[in-house]
């Protein structure tokens, strides 16, 4: 049962345009959503997160939108740059009490930004 889904395995965008990466989830108990970027041979790097009680969070060129009723979130990158080319993972956090947070990841979307 894939609780976090990224249905687009890849996306190609022209430099300077907007990149929109999508993510759907099924579990309404998730309280935070996170986006990670991963280059080959490196670990995932945290980008931006959003609480389930918000609908938007912005950090520079990156904005995450959350639609709780649709159980959908998206990451907008504008303007896109060639250095943004990487695999982007959506992750959802469910708090289990104590100090334990568990992240459930989507399968990732490979973003290619064309110069």
């Amino acid at each position: 049962d894939q609780q976090v889904k990224q249905n687009s395995p890849s996306l190609s965008v022209q430099e300077g345009r907007i990149s929109i990466l999508n993510c759907d989830y099924t579990n309404s108990m998730f309280d935070y959503f996170l986006w990670y970027k991963k280059y080959p041979a490196e670990g995932p790097t945290f980008l931006i997160s959003i609480s389930s009680i918000k609908d938007k969070n912005e950090d520079g060129r990156f904005t995450v939108f959350l639609n709780k009723s649709a159980k959908h979130l998206s990451l907008h990158i504008v303007p896109s740059q060639p250095g943004d080319s990487a695999v982007y993972f959506c992750a959802a956090r469910r708090y289990y009490g104590g100090a334990t947070n568990k992240l459930i990841f989507g399968t990732g979307t490979l973003l290619a930004v064309q110069p």
Binding site: Q2, V4, Y32, L34, Y36, A41, E42, G43, P44, T45, F46, S49, S51, F89, A91, R93, Y95, A99, T100, N101, K102, L103, I104, F105, G106, T107, G108
Partner: protein, 113 residues
């Protein structure tokens, strides 16, 4: 932020052997997490390692196959035991920075032949 060093970065191993992956953090952390990313798949949590207690394993992962040590607050190891080609994956350790942020090591790319 936390700096996480993982060793080895990659290895090719014979089936039936075991490999121990090391994870060193530059600050003391309560919990460390071990993930696996199989080819074309998402990252899947293997276990949570608390210093001074046994690791807590997720469904589908057992201690005999993936023994974990957590001798202090900055270090952990994951052993992949009696390896088969199905264990070929990227293994990553992770620590929590806050409720909303986690840091990852660079990963260990394991190929079992």
């Amino acid at each position: 932020s936390a700096v996480i060093s993982q060793k080895p970065s990659r290895d090719i191993c014979q089936r039936g052997t075991s490999l121990t992956i090391q994870c060193q953090v530059d600050s003391q952390v309560t919990m460390m997490f071990w993930y696996r990313q199989q080819p074309g798949q998402s990252l899947t949590l293997i276990a949570t390692a608390n210093q001074g207690s046994e690791a807590t394993y997720e469904s589908g992962f057992v201690i005999d196959k993936f023994p974990i040590s957590r001798p202090n607050l900055t270090f952990s190891t994951l052993t992949v035991s009696n390896m088969s080609p199905e264990d070929s994956s990227i293994y990553l350790c992770s620590v929590e920075a806050s409720k909303t942020e986690a840091f990852f090591g660079q990963g260990t790319r394991l190929t079992v032949v």
